[in-house]
């Protein structure tokens, strides 16, 4: 269901999820958006795919917590001490704020990235006004990588058939480098040229205004989703204004 949402709605979600907590100015707000993101990712059955990202950023956030906990400028209240190393409450809270923000950004972007086909995402960007040329460059990256992996496998097979060892000692591997990489590079150059001609033949460089093969499909869920998001945004602006007026 999440996969069917219009990528635009997901982009709006990213925007609101990061602006609203800043407007409200409470950690609870950030935490609730993280929770919402987790719920959405679970519905989309892609929550487990965020694990590697979280592990990596978790490591960095841990060092942030340690350094801020010990050295933050406004440190006065002692939280706890490990031997002679003293951790302060202010620094830890500051680190918590950073951690929440980072995780919030990661989670909200994950919804867009993990539940949208790359080609759909690029098409949405083009709909939003990105130049079709740049859009093509972006989407071709997604096609070229698997294609190159496949060529690489064939080339390895062809050279191994000619008695070349590709496994074993470092020296053997270094020796195998040129026979493997040169055909890959040559093939890529040739196919790039052919691709360019094929695109040009089909009017890629035409100055006419382009139409789209697929219309953006907005469902009822999109409307509800967007309405709720805009409502949250307006409420948080209201909240901010109230605080100022006090």
């Amino acid at each position: 269901m999440i996969h069917k949402l219009d990528p635009n709605s997901k982009i709006i979600y990213i925007f609101v999820a990061n602006i609203a907590p800043a407007l409200i100015g409470a950690r609870m707000a950030t935490a609730s958006f993280i929770l919402i993101s987790i719920v959405i990712l679970t519905i989309g059955k892609v929550l487990h795919k965020t694990a590697p990202m979280l592990e990596f950023s978790g490591l960095i956030l841990l060092t942030v917590a340690i350094i801020q906990g010990i050295f933050h400028q406004g440190n006065t209240t002692v939280a706890f001490a490990l031997g002679s190393v003293v951790f302060y409450k202010e620094g830890l809270m500051f680190a918590l704020g950073i951690a929440l923000n980072v995780i919030n950004i990661l989670m909200s972007f994950s919804i867009l990235v993990l539940t949208t086909k790359p080609s759909d995402m690029v098409e949405t960007f083009v709909h939003m006004g990105l130049s079709p040329r740049l859009g093509y460059v972006m989407s071709s990256v997604f096609q070229i990588i698997p294609q190159m992996t496949k060529t690489m496998a064939t080339i390895t097979d062809a050279q191994r058939s000619r008695g070349m060892e590709t496994e074993g000692k470092l020296k053997t591997r270094i020796k195998a480098f040129f026979p493997l990489i040169s055909p890959v590079v040559m093939n890529s150059l040739i196919s790039t040229k052919e691709r360019a001609i094929a695109l040009e033949v089909r009017g890629f460089g035409s100055k006419q205004k382009k139409t789209f093969l697929n219309d953006l499909q907005k469902t009822r869920y999109d409307d509800i989703f967007r309405f709720v998001l805009i409502l949250i945004l307006i409420l948080s602006i209201f909240w901010r204004v109230l605080i100022w007026l006090k």
Partner: protein, 271 residues
């Protein structure tokens, strides 16, 4: 004499989709064509013979020795395989060096490798452009370079994967000549192809693959006389065979010359 025995061989890339389902066959010195629809498992079969893929079940014996205990590089000394696309292997900027790469890899010294390479280039008719850059040549010449680079390794078995693609009449005639020469040298020649006229002209034995199994195997004229099985495998006999069939001849003709001489001796009306 070279023999390859394949016993009860199974292979699949993914668990759901078996590609080869129990292949039993003995390949001998007869020149052999492997034909069959796209996706029938022909290329997979020769990659297994080459050790590039390993069977899930079953054995491949090369002269009685199981190839499971040989590395690809060791197998390369005995079995040569010419890939479909020459661009997947060419990396030197001089044809002779390119052809010498294989022989040197399998342990020939410089001089021996050079001698074999020059012979191979002579065989494909490219002796006079040893020093040219392979990338300056057209696709059909580059295919010949790829063939030469395998011939120069002087293997007992030579396997071609679609050698006639991108070749004009002259190129095909050249390849036919190469195959006959190899055969005369006592080498085992296997070829995957879709070109039935080429099969009829050049190969003593034909193996038909269909849906991961061997559907037909035998002398080429016998195989081409089995119309029903062939259509089952979505294959057509050579043109002249089809023509004689439509004319109602019982005898199977594989080559135009055979048919012409038959008609000349017996007269057109006399079936």
């Amino acid at each position: 004499m070279t023999r390859i025995e394949v016993q009860e061989m199974h292979f699949s890339y993914t668990e759901q989709e078996p590609i080869l389902k129990g292949i039993n066959i003995t390949l001998d010195e007869r020149s052999t064509a492997i034909i069959g629809q796209n996706g029938a498992g022909k290329t997979t079969f020769v990659k297994l013979l080459k050790g590039l893929l390993r069977p899930m079940q079953g054995k491949i014996l090369f002269d009685g020795k199981d190839i499971a205990c040989m590395t690809v590089a060791q197998i390369a000394k005995h079995i040569g395989l010419v890939f479909q696309n020459p661009n997947d292997q060419i990396f030197k900027n001089n044809i002779l060096d390119e052809v010498m790469f294989g022989p040197i890899n399998i342990g020939m010294d410089e001089q021996e490798a050079k001698r074999h390479s020059q012979n191979a280039l002579a065989m494909v008719g490219l002796s006079d452009c040893e020093d040219k850059n392979p990338y300056d040549m057209g696709l059909s010449e580059r295919k010949l370079i790829a063939i030469a680079s395998v011939l120069a390794m002087d293997t007992d078995v030579v396997i071609f994967d679609e050698p006639t693609i991108a070749q004009d009449y002259r190129g095909i005639e050249k390849i036919k000549k190469i195959i006959r020469t190899l055969k005369a040298e006592g080498k085992m020649v296997l070829t995957i192809t879709h070109d039935m006229d080429f099969v009829a002209d050049c190969f003593e034995r034909t193996i038909v693959f269909a849906k991961g199994k061997i559907l037909l195997d035998g002398q080429t004229d016998k195989v081409f006389s089995k119309k029903e099985e062939l259509s089952q495998a979505y294959l057509e006999p050579p043109h002249v065979t089809q023509l004689c069939n439509s004319l109602g001849y019982d005898k199977v003709f594989l080559r135009v010359e055979d048919f012409v001489s038959y008609v000349k001796s017996k007269g057109i009306e006399n079936k």
